[in-house]
Amino acid sequence: MNSERKAAYALVAPAVFIVAVFVLSPIVQAFINSLYRDTPFSPKTFIGLDNYRTLFSDSVATGTIEFTLIFVIVSTALEILIGLGLALVIHEHFKGRGLVRAAVLIPWAIPTVVAGVMWKYMLNDQYGFVNLVFYGSNVANYVAWLASEWSARMAIIGADVWKTSSFAALLILAGLQSIPEDLYEAARIDGANAVKRFFRITLPLLKPAILLALLFRMMDAFRVFALVYVMTQGAPGGSTNVLQYYGYQKMFPEQQFGYGSAVSVLVFVMIAIVATILIRTVRTRIYES
């Protein structure tokens, strides 16, 4: 082995060691655990894929999978759209842009647990800010947003969109900044108006950045936890339950480690599929351009 290779291994070793010990080995344990019935009340038994069978047949689990998918799709779509809008605004030159940029980044910097508590408080049906905004002092019309299925779902999605759109905006802004100004000038000379310039130049050239933002956001959205944990705990019924919260319920309060591990493996598989597709697309996009 030559010295360069030795040095390379030596340098990578600490990172691989830390990740292997603190992430990979627990993950392997989780994979193995997902094949067992593992609760404190009966001997640990190997049950093959039974946990996964339950996961796809139990109506609570399938309902959770369904809302997780709704959440991932709707929230990432909105985040990309709003992120794009935010990015376009903070890309413009104007007085006080620095402050506006900082303002846009604030939701991203707020701890998620804090954001969840904030939103829960603001959605209260008696003294909630959201009701104040919609209904003013007309107290009789105040709505209990988290009490019914669809408004609760919207609330969870809304809180996530508020919290993370700015991260999407950051990535898209980075993409915007890499588009050369000549292109716009050339298009202007060719007589393209602002709308055409946006759809013909900005959007196509932003594709890599948007796909990247999509990748980051989707990987996170599949693992949404804190907002649900703080705001609804899956209520009403199980309509806002998401996979990672469901897995948490199984593993910690209910002490079903085998089944909970199966849930987390499912989340992993879903993320891996989406990530693989997106990473492939990002790569080919970059080669094309």
């Binding site: 990740v19 303002a103 104040l132």
Partner: protein, 270 residues
């Protein structure tokens, strides 16, 4: 006309972003008497009772301090170890390069709940429960994939002539990394540091289970401890939320230019 529309858009953007935070700030400045009024009062009575309660009764500044230590150490370690790993992964000829990268990336796709049990057992064996390193090590592990990913893609962009030149000037691989790559990649290193710091500052779930000694608990756990058995002290929570967020707001205000330029330079290159 255009100007007016644009100004309205900007105001809307700012309100969307900081409106909720302003409302929490507003709430934190109310008094116990006015906080549950309906409809809610818009102008707070500018009381600092809730802040006093958060700081004195709940000893909140200790959590802030712990979070600063944990987030700071995590940032240091993750950036250091991440840089050490990203350099060879980006620049040196080594077998298993792709394998290592995909493994690290896959590690970042796993839901946290699946990991926490194993991490707990490990820390128990190492005697690291209820210590700062007990959080710093798993946080480092969880943020390393991101750090390695950003830094690797940035290091890949650095021209190879620079590397050769350093070697001719007498640098081995390590000196090249330390004296040339790290300073040149400073924006990316910086962005990585910010992302890691924010993650560690905000993480709740590991902290809840690993830190039970109040002397070492971090801020999100501190906030989770505010509610009593049946009581939710909204005002004190709001004050705590403001205190928890302000360091980050300041960080963002001061550093927004560098955050943005770091991401521009690094992350998007994928």
């Amino acid at each position: 006309m255009r100007r007016v529309v644009f100004t309205i858009v900007i105001v809307a953007v700012v309100l969307f972003s900081i409106g909720p935070f302003m409302w929490i700030l507003n709430t934190s400045l109310k008094s116990p008497q006015t906080i549950a009024e309906r409809p809610p009062t818009i102008i707070p009575d500018l009381q600092t009772e809730f802040f006093a309660a958060a700081v004195d009764e709940h000893n909140f500044m200790r959590y802030v301090g712990n979070s600063a230590i944990v987030a700071g150490l995590t940032t240091l370690l993750a950036v250091l170890v991440g840089t050490l790993a990203a350099y060879p992964l980006a620049r040196l000829r080594m077998p298993w390069r792709r394998g290592i990268l995909s493994l690290v990336l896959a590690a970042s796709m796993f839901p946290q709940i699946a990991i926490v049990g194993g991490v707990y057992r490990l820390l128990l064996k190492l005697g690291l429960l209820n210590t700062h390193p007990g959080l710093v090590l798993p946080y480092t592990a969880l943020t390393l994939p991101l750090a390695i990913w950003i830094l690797t893609s940035f290091f890949k962009e650095i021209p190879s002539d620079l590397e050769d030149s350093a070697r001719v000037d007498g640098c081995g691989p390590l000196a090249t990394m330390w004296r040339i790559f790290v300073p040149v990649a400073a924006p990316a290193v910086f962005t990585t540091a910010i992302l890691v710091f924010i993650y560690a500052w905000n993480e709740f779930f590991f902290a809840l289970l690993i830190m039970t000694d109040p002397a070492v608990q971090t801020l999100p756990v501190g906030i989770a401890k505010f509610p009593g058995e049946y009581m939710v002290p909204w005002g004190e929570l709001a004050a705590a939320a403001v205190i928890a967020t302000i360091p980050l707001v300041v960080l963002v205000l001061v550093l927004q230019r560098r955050i943005i330029s770091g991401l521009t330079a690094g992350a998007v290159k994928g």
